[in-house]
């Protein structure tokens, strides 16, 4: 794409601080008409902040923004929307009880006087649907839609507002592979009509696939700009992380041993009393990582809660080692030497207001190692937590620091330190690297592999296919609470796994 053209967006010298964190430092960013520009960077690199500034959601501390040649003072999203800038956030904001039509037309001027004009709006929306292949029933309630469909609603919402500069923040994070294909088609048809798209992502393959040009951000600065045709994933990865990454994860060949976790005919309902898991069977053996792929919301949360002892199933048995797990009793799971890494480390896994040390002994604070006559043995606890902090190279002000002061990667290390310190026979890890940057992710993966070599059986539940493929000895796919299929880690094809994830049988 051309430097010959005049940019439709010109941001220069953008700086933004949050308290003592500099999210953006002197950033210059151009966007040209008719291109898909990828904004690539690790978590916390400042991609979303920069685009939130362009969208008027944040105001920058320093810098200037020109949109379509005019200087733009953006104090609220509506200023950006009126200039044709629209943004679809990663966790797009939804109103589950509204209809599709309502969510699209809210705030956009239509209708006569004070009344809403649903009829004209419906016709307009149907036209967009025809043109861009965004088929959605305008009268459906938002909560009845899948995440992919909800994203289409968000795109329609932007188009309805005559947006010609569309920002998409990690749009594929929630999509199945087939939905991603569909999204890419839509995005391409949008730029063909002269619109521009900013595509925020940290997934290299995707960026190579969809973009015309790539801007790489690291620690709040632009570190490189490349035309997609003239670069490759390897170069991009190094630019993004700022150092050479290990080429690939080294995995020893190990023969799986005795079964350590057996799930037999499990059935469960979710919080709304709808079936979440039906007739699920799994076996995890010693020295083995069983990867469970699937889009979130297909029963993984309920499955974890059951294994962790937080939820009682309607049917079935779970055996850890050879003993049955007592349902609804987290203490039983601990007693059976299970390492539990929940998907929501902040809400479920850790107590953010307690110290690092207190979090580390949470599960075994009642063991005689740590107390006598009801009084804690503080010296021993201090020793224990200091050891773990150094063993897991946790960056913290000290064992007394409030847990909430730690970064995401270090929180997960605290989580691992606590769960793995007892040498568990079974480890169940749900989304262990979600939201972590590449460096922390690498560390967690190494740890999990080490546990496998030690002899643990590991159930790895993840939405990240790269992670599943890199670590798993066997892969199962969960869809609507059922196992769609199983493949060996070495032989599984991405296409097959992707199909299963979308609910397509062989």
């Amino acid at each position: 794409m051309g430097d010959t053209q005049t940019p439709v967006v010109r941001m220069s010298g953008i700086t933004k601080h949050f308290l003592d964190v500099t999210a953006n430092k002197d950033i210059t960013f151009h966007l040209y008409p008719g291109e898909i520009c990828a904004l690539l960077g690790e978590n916390g690199a400042g991609k979303t902040t920069l685009m939130n500034i362009l969208f008027g959601y944040y105001t920058c501390d320093e810098g200037e923004i020109f949109i379509k040649g005019e200087k733009a003072n953006l104090s609220a999203p509506k200023d950006a929307i009126s200039r044709g800038v629209g943004m679809i956030h990663q966790h797009f904001a939804l109103v589950p009880s509204h209809t599709v039509l309502e969510i699209i037309i809210i705030g956009a001027d239509s209708g006569r006087g004070i009344f809403l004009d649903f009829k004209t709006a419906r016709q307009e929306i149907l036209q967009f649907q025809e043109r861009f292949g965004l088929k959605i029933d305008p009268d459906a309630r938002v909560w009845t839609l899948s995440v992919g469909e909800q994203q289409k609603v968000e795109i329609l919402k932007a188009l309805y507002r005559d947006v010609d500069i569309l920002i998409m923040d990690e749009p594929t994070a929630v999509l199945a592979p087939s939905e991603t294909e569909e999204l890419f088609k839509t995005l391409r048809s949008l730029v063909e009509e002269g619109r521009s798209v900013v595509f925020i992502s940290h997934k290299l393959n995707e960026v190579m696939d969809i973009s015309d040009r790539i801007v790489v951000l690291r620690a709040g600065r632009v570190v490189a700009e490349r035309n997609t045709a003239e670069t490759n994933t390897r170069e991009l990865a190094n630019l993004m992380v700022g150092r050479d990454l290990l080429e690939s994860i080294e995995k020893k060949t190990l023969e799986p041993g005795q079964p350590v976790l057996e799930i037999i005919d499990l059935g469960a309902v979710d919080d709304k009393n709808l079936p979440a898991i039906t007739n699920l069977n799994l076996v995890v053996r010693q020295n083995e990582i069983l990867g469970m792929a699937g889009i979130s919301g297909n029963g993984q949360t309920e499955l974890c809660e059951i294994i962790f002892g937080m939820r009682a199933p309607t049917d079935g048995i779970i055996k850890v080692g050879n003993s049955p797990l007592k349902f609804g009793s987290p203490a039983s799971a601990i007693k059976l030497r299970m390492g539990r890494i929940p998907e929501d480390r902040i809400g479920t896994g850790l107590m953010m207001d307690l110290s690092v040390e207190e979090n580390m002994i949470l599960e075994n604070h009642t063991s005689s190692d740590f107390h006598r006559y009801g009084l804690m043995k503080s010296k021993k606890i201090r020793q224990f937590s200091d050891d773990l902090i150094s063993a897991y190279s946790i960056t913290t002000a000290g064992r007394d620091a409030a847990t909430k002061s730690l970064s995401g990667g270090n929180l997960q290390k605290v989580m691992l330190a606590r769960e793995l310190s007892g040498g568990p026979a079974v480890i169940v890890a749900s989304q262990p690297t979600r939201g972590l940057d590449v460096g922390a992710m690498e560390y967690i993966h190494q740890r999990i592999l080490k546990e496998r070599e030690r002899g643990a059986g590991i159930l790895l539940i993840s939405e990240d296919l790269d992670e599943i493929f890199a670590l798993s000895d066997r892969i199962v796919v969960i869809y609507e609470g059922k196992i769609m299929g199983e493949a060996s880690g070495a032989e599984a094809s991405r296409e097959q796994i992707g199909l299963w994830m979308s609910g397509v049988e062989k």
Binding site: A23, K47, P77, V95, I103, L116
Partner: protein, 315 residues
């Protein structure tokens, strides 16, 4: 007991149901508006009391009963604005702000009343609203006389129910209000002013609560007593939940309450040998029972109780 089936009795009961429901309809609609925008206004009991006192005072001084109604609405708006300042602009806890306003208003109402009237042995009275009999409609057999011999404020309350429904579901403003109450981020990102929308709802809702209170001193009774509201504000909060935040369903709740209130008054009169306190309890008791059965499937506005600020965290 044969009196119970008497036509005059039935007609009287219908009339009483409507009268007892009137202040609750105003208050419930006002609270629905506030809560649909995401603010729980626990100041309701105090706002109603201030409305009742102001309405009475202004009518007493000016001799114009409609001036009293207007003044009650204005006082309700001012207290609604205060609630908005605390809970929306400052983002304080909605519970604390609302209860604070109720406590403040209770003291202030008595203070102003005493300042003006001292402590008279016989409470001063006004000439209250007269009931208006609508021609033709009131001649419908059985239900006509009860339904259509009412105070003008009761007719206004009835008109407000469809008005509120249309506002919430058919207008641009209504869609904005519902969106702000469900997810302020969505509203903000499409250019809706969240703080302004919430303030507007609290102010208009406050006016409705004030008028609801004034009905009690200008129509239901002709004097002001400190206990005049008698927990009707809290009942309105319960009616909002009972009605699932919908104006029509909420009004049905107020009618049931009004009916029970009217019935208990009459049962006391029939002379059954049960302490009248038991009858006084009935409507409140049934409110609790109804709430337990309904609130399990309640569709609470998702952003209720949540203050909204845009730049809360880094990206």
């Amino acid at each position: 007991m044969s009196e119970i089936l008497d036509i005059a009795f039935v007609s009287g009961l219908i009339g009483a149901t409507m009268r007892m429901a009137t202040p609750l309809i105003f208050a419930t609609l006002g609270e629905i508006l506030a809560e649909r925008s995401g603010v729980l206004n626990l100041g309701i009991e105090g706002i109603m009391l201030m409305g009742a006192m102001t309405g009475f005072l202004v009518t007493f001084s000016s001799g114009s009963i409609w001036s009293g109604v207007l003044a009650a609405a204005v006082v309700g708006m001012i207290l609604g604005l205060l609630m908005a300042f605390l809970a929306v602009n400052l983002g304080l806890s909605q519970h604390v702000s609302g209860l604070g306003i109720t406590l403040f208003a209770a003291g202030l109402a008595m203070f102003i009343y005493r300042l003006h009237f001292g402590s008279p042995t016989v409470p001063p009275i006004i000439q209250p609203f007269k009931q208006i009999t609508l021609p033709v409609l009131s001649e419908i057999p059985v239900i006509g006389p009860g339904l259509f011999t009412q105070y003008s404020l009761t007719y206004i309350a009835w008109l407000l129910v469809p008005v509120m429904s249309i506002l919430l579901y058919k207008t641009k403003l209504g869609l904005k209000i519902r969106t702000v109450g469900e997810n302020p981020v969505v509203a903000d990102t499409v250019g809706v002013n969240v703080a302004l929308t919430r303030t507007l709802c609290l102010v208009i809702g406050g006016a409705l609560m004030g008028v609801g209170g004034a009905f009690l001193t200008l129509a239901h009774q002709n004097m002001f007593l400190i206990e005049v509201i008698g927990g009707r504000g809290w009942v309105a909060i319960a009616m909002v939940i009972f009605g699932n935040w919908d104006p029509v369903k909420g009004t049905i709740g107020t009618l049931i309450f009004g009916f029970l209130d009217g019935l208990q008054l009459r049962l006391q009169g029939v002379g059954i040998a049960i302490p009248f306190h038991v009858f006084l309890m009935i409507p409140y008791l049934l409110t609790i029972v109804a709430l337990i059965s309904v609130s399990r499937r309640a569709a609470v506005p998702a952003a209720l109780l949540k203050a909204y600020r845009r730049e809360e965290k880094g990206g």
